[in-house]
C-alpha cells in the first residue's frame, strides 16, 4: 500500500476515484488475482480441446449429456462461450470472487495495512464502497476472461457462423455475439450477491484466509442445499438458484421471468449483506 504520501485534508469526490483506481491497480497486479484469471481462462481451453478430441470434429457430442450447450459446440464455436460460462458459473467464478471479496478487508487487517488505509481521510464507508466496486469489477473481468478465452478457443477449433437458439430459431452471428455479450453481463451481475456476502464475511474477521475459506465454504453449502429436493420451498431464496437462467437469453422470444428473479435476488443479497458489512465495518474497532 503506497498511498499514504500526500493525503489532502478533506476528502474530495475525485479523491475517492483515485482511491478506487489505486485499489484496482493493486488488486489486479497481485499474483493471486492473475493466477485466478489464468485458471478461469484455462477452463474454456480444456473444454474446447476435450470436445474436439471426443468428437474428432464430426457429429454432435454425446447426445444431450454433459454441460449445457455442449452438443452445439462442434457446430458453432460461439457455443463454447455459453458452455464455458455454464461450467464455470457454479463454482470457478464464485470461488474466485469469494477469494477476492473475502480478502478485501480481512486481508488488509491481517497484513496490518488497514489502519494505514483509514489514516488517509477516506472514511470507512468510502473504503468499503471502493472495495466492493473492485470486487464487482473483478466479477466482470473474470466473466469476460472466460468468455473471451472461450470465443478464441471456439474460433480456433470450431467453425463460427449463424447461431441456433434454444427454440430452434436461427439468428445471425452478429446477434449471437450480442447475446453472448448480454449473457456475460448477466453472469457478472449474478456474482454480485456472492461478492457482497464475501465482503460481509471479510469485515467479521482479521484473517484473510478465514474469510476466504468461510465465503467459499458458504458457497459450497448453499450449492448443496440448492440440490436437495426436500428444501424446494427455501431454494428460490438461495443466491445460486437462478444462476443458470442466463440461458433464457438464448430463447426466442427471451424468457425474462427467471432472469428478473435472478437479478432481483442478487440485488437483495447485495443490499442486505452490503449494509451488514457497512454496519459491521463502520462500528468495529480497527486494531490492525
Amino acid at each position: 500500500m503506497s498511498r499514504a504520501d500526500t493525503a489532502p485534508r478533506r476528502p474530495r469526490p475525485l479523491w475517492s476515484l483515485g482511491l478506487l483506481r489505486n485499489e484496482i491497480g493493486t488488486t489486479f497486479r497481485r499474483w493471486r488475482t492473475l493466477a485466478l484469471l489464468a485458471v478461469l481462462a484455462g477452463v474454456p481451453v480444456l473444454v474446447g480441446i476435450a470436445v474436439k478430441i471426443e468428437t474428432g470434429g464430426a457429429g454432435p457430442a454425446g447426445g444431450g449429456g454433459g454441460p449445457a450447450f455442449i452438443s452445439q459446440v462442434t457446430n458453432n464455436g460461439l457455443f463454447l462461450v455459453f458452455t464455458s460460462l455454464a461450467v464455470t458459473l457454479p463454482f470457478f467464478l464464485p470461488m474466485s470472487i469469494g477469494v477476492l471479496a473475502g480478502d478485501a478487508i480481512a486481508g488488509e487487517a491481517h497484513a496490518g495495512t488497514l489502519r494505514y488505509l483509514l489514516v488517509a481521510p477516506a472514511g470507512r464507508t468510502r473504503l468499503l464502497l471502493v472495495k466492493y466496486a473492485t470486487t464487482m469489477l473483478f466479477c466482470l473481468v473474470g466473466t469476460l476472461v472466460v468468455a473471451l478465452s472461450a470465443l478464441t478457443v471456439g474460433a480456433l477449433l470450431f467453425p463460427l457462423g449463424e447461431v441456433t437458439l434454444l427454440s430452434g430459431t436461427t439468428v445471425s452471428f452478429g446477434e449471437g455475439l450480442l447475446r453472448a455479450l448480454a449473457i456475460a453481463g448477466v453472469v457478472a451481475l449474478s456474482l454480485t450477491g456472492v461478492a457482497a456476502l464475501g465482503l460481509f464475511v471479510s469485515t467479521l474477521t482479521t484473517s484473510g484466509i478465514a474469510a476466504m475459506a468461510t465465503t467459499v465454504g458458504l458457497l459450497i453449502t448453499v450449492q448443496i442445499l440448492d440440490t436437495i429436493p426436500q428444501l424446494h420451498t427455501l431454494q428460490p431464496y438461495l443466491f445460486p438458484h437462478y444462476w443458470l437462467s442466463f440461458a433464457d437469453l438464448l430463447r426466442d422470444p427471451v424468457y425474462w421471468d427467471q432472469l428478473q428473479k435472478n437479478l432481483g435476488l442478487q440485488a437483495l443479497y447485495t443490499v442486505v449483506f452490503g449494509s451488514a458489512a457497512w454496519a459491521r465495518f463502520t462500528t468495529r474497532d480497527i486494531t490492525a
Partner: protein
C-alpha cells in the same frame, strides 16, 4: 466524514453509550432491508392471489356454455404445470434413454438421437415435477408449444401441414406431416405427435374434464379469482361416486372470453394438487407470424418422424402405458364415469415387463417378490390374491395371474372389480 470512528469514542461513559446506540442503528439497516424483502415476498403474492374480482353471478351451465362457445383462436402465454401424482420422479434422461436404447435396437442409422426428439419421452417428463411451457396458438393450423427446461428447450411447431419438433439438448429436429384430412382436430391417433402435449394446455384439460361430466358429477361455480392478471370464474367439478380418488377439479375460466386459464386437480386424500396447470401470463393478441415458422437449424440432425414412428411404433407402446393406459391392446373398461376401471389381461400380453415380473413373483418368493412386496400392498379376495400399487390418484391391482386393474378409484373398488370378473 470522520475517520476511524469507533476507536475515538471509547472515552467516557456517555459517548460509549451513544456509540452503542449507533451500532444498533446501523445493524438495524440490513435487518430492516431483509425484513422488508421477506414481507414483500411473503405478502405480495398472497394479496395478488386472494384478489377475488367482483363479477356478475353466473350459473354452472352458463359458464360451461361460455367455455364451449369461446371462439378464441389466438393466444400466447406461459403455462406452469406442476404434477404430483405420487410417482417417483422421472428424470428426463431415464425416459429418453430407455426409448433411445429400444429404438437403437430396432435398428436404423438414427435410432438414438431420433428418440430424444420424440414427444413421448417429453411427455413422461411432464408426468412429474414442475414445468414451464410457452404456448402460442393462431387458429387450428398454427400452434407452437415449448417446454422450457434448464438451459434447454423442447419445441413443437405446427404450421399448416408441417409439424416440427426440436430438441435443443441433442440438437435434433423431428419432422412429420400433419394429417390433411384432420385439420382442426390436428394430431389424431395415427399422427399422435402434438396430441399428448396439447392436452397439457388448460383448454384441453378442461374439455376432457367436462366430457367426463354427467349424472356422476356435480358441477358448480365457486367464486372468482385472478389468473395471470385476468378476471376468472372458478368452475368446480366433483365426482359424486365415493370410490373415486379424485377430490375435485377446479377450472378457472376467463370471464371475458371463456378461455380456461387454470386447471387444478386435487386428490381426495388431500394435500397438494395432483395436477396444477395454469397460465402465468397470457395474451390474446395474434402471435407474430414468425413464431410459427420453423426451418431446421444448420447442423441439426433431422429425423423423419413418420418413418421413425412406423419403425418404433410397437416399441414405444410399453413406455406409454405409464401415462396413457388406453394405448394398450387387450384392454376392457368396466364401471362408468369417475370409477371406470381398466382391465388388462395378463398372461404374456399387455404389460410385457411388469406382467412378467408379477408372474415371477407368484412362484418364486425370491428377490423379485420381496421387491414387489415393498412396493405394493398384498390384498386377497375371492379372485385370489394380488398386489395393489398406489399413487395419489391412480391405484392398480395386479393379480397373481398377471391381470391388471387400473383406475382412479380406491383399493376396495379394484378388489370388487376383480371379484366381479371372477
Amino acid at each position: 466524514m470522520s475517520r476511524n470512528e469507533p476507536a475515538e469514542v471509547i472515552g467516557d461513559g456517555g459517548e460509549g453509550r451513544s456509540s452503542k446506540r449507533r451500532k444498533a442503528v446501523r445493524y438495524a439497516v440490513p435487518v430492516a432491508v431483509a425484513g422488508v424483502a421477506a414481507a414483500t415476498i411473503g405478502l405480495v403474492p398472497a394479496f395478488a392471489g386472494s384478489g377475488s374480482p367482483d363479477l356478475p353471478k353466473i350459473s354452472a351451465e352458463e359458464l360451461i356454455a361460455k367455455i364451449a362457445k369461446s371462439d378464441t383462436q389466438q393466444l400466447s402465454g406461459t403455462v406452469r404445470i406442476t404434477t404430483d401424482l405420487g410417482l417417483p420422479s422421472l428424470p428426463g434422461g431415464i425416459g429418453a434413454g430407455g426409448f433411445g436404447g429400444e429404438q437403437g435396437k430396432g435398428g436404423g442409422e438414427q435410432g438414438k438421437d431420433g428418440a430424444s426428439a420424440a414427444p413421448q419421452s417429453k411427455l413422461m417428463e411432464l408426468a412429474s415435477g414442475a414445468h414451464t411451457l410457452r404456448v402460442a396458438v393462431d387458429g387450428p393450423d398454427k400452434q407452437r408449444l415449448s417446454i422450457v427446461d434448464k438451459a434447454a428447450e423442447y419445441s413443437i411447431v405446427h404450421n399448416g401441414g408441417e409439424v416440427w419438433a426440436y430438441d435443443s439438448g441433442s440438437n435434433t429436429a423431428l419432422h412429420s406431416k400433419a394429417p390433411q384430412g384432420e385439420r382442426g382436430h390436428q394430431g389424431g391417433a395415427p399422427q399422435g405427435l402434438p396430441k399428448g402435449l396439447e392436452q397439457a394446455t388448460p383448454q384441453d384439460l378442461a374439455k376432457e374434464a367436462l366430457k367426463a361430466a354427467g349424472d356422476t358429477t356435480s358441477v358448480t361455480v365457486d367464486g372468482t379469482a385472478k389468473i395471470a392478471g385476468r378476471d376468472a370464474y372458478q368452475l368446480v367439478i366433483k365426482p359424486k361416486q365415493s370410490a373415486s380418488t379424485v377430490g375435485s377439479i377446479r377450472i378457472s375460466v376467463d370471464a371475458a372470453n371463456g378461455v380456461p386459464l387454470k386447471f387444478t386437480l386435487t386428490p381426495k386424500s388431500g394435500g397438494a394438487a395432483a395436477i396444477d396447470a395454469g397460465f402465468t401470463t397470457v395474451d390474446f393478441a395474434k402471435p407474430e407470424a414468425h413464431t410459427f415458422a420453423f426451418t431446421p437449424p444448420k447442423g441439426a440432425q433431422v429425423v423423419d418422424g413418420d418413418k421413425e414412428r412406423a419403425k418404433a411404433h410397437k416399441e414405444v407402446k410399453p413406455g406409454q402405458d405409464l401415462k396413457d393406459f388406453k394405448g394398450l391392446g387387450g384392454l376392457t373398461v368396466s364401471g362408468k364415469g369417475w370409477t371406470s376401471i381398466a382391465t388388462i389381461k395378463g398372461a404374456g400380453s399387455g404389460l410385457p415387463s411388469a406382467g412378467a415380473k408379477g408372474a415371477d413373483a407368484k412362484g418364486a418368493a425370491g428377490d423379485a417378490g420381496k421387491f414387489l412386496d415393498s412396493l405394493g400392498d398384498k390384498v386377497t379376495g375371492s379372485f385370489g390374491s394380488g398386489r395393489v400399487f398406489s399413487t395419489r390418484l391412480v391405484n392398480a391391482l395386479m393379480t397373481d395371474d398377471g391381470t391388471v386393474y387400473v383406475g382412479a378409484v380406491d383399493k376396495q373398488a379394484l378388489v370388487d372389480a376383480a371379484n366381479a370378473a371372477k
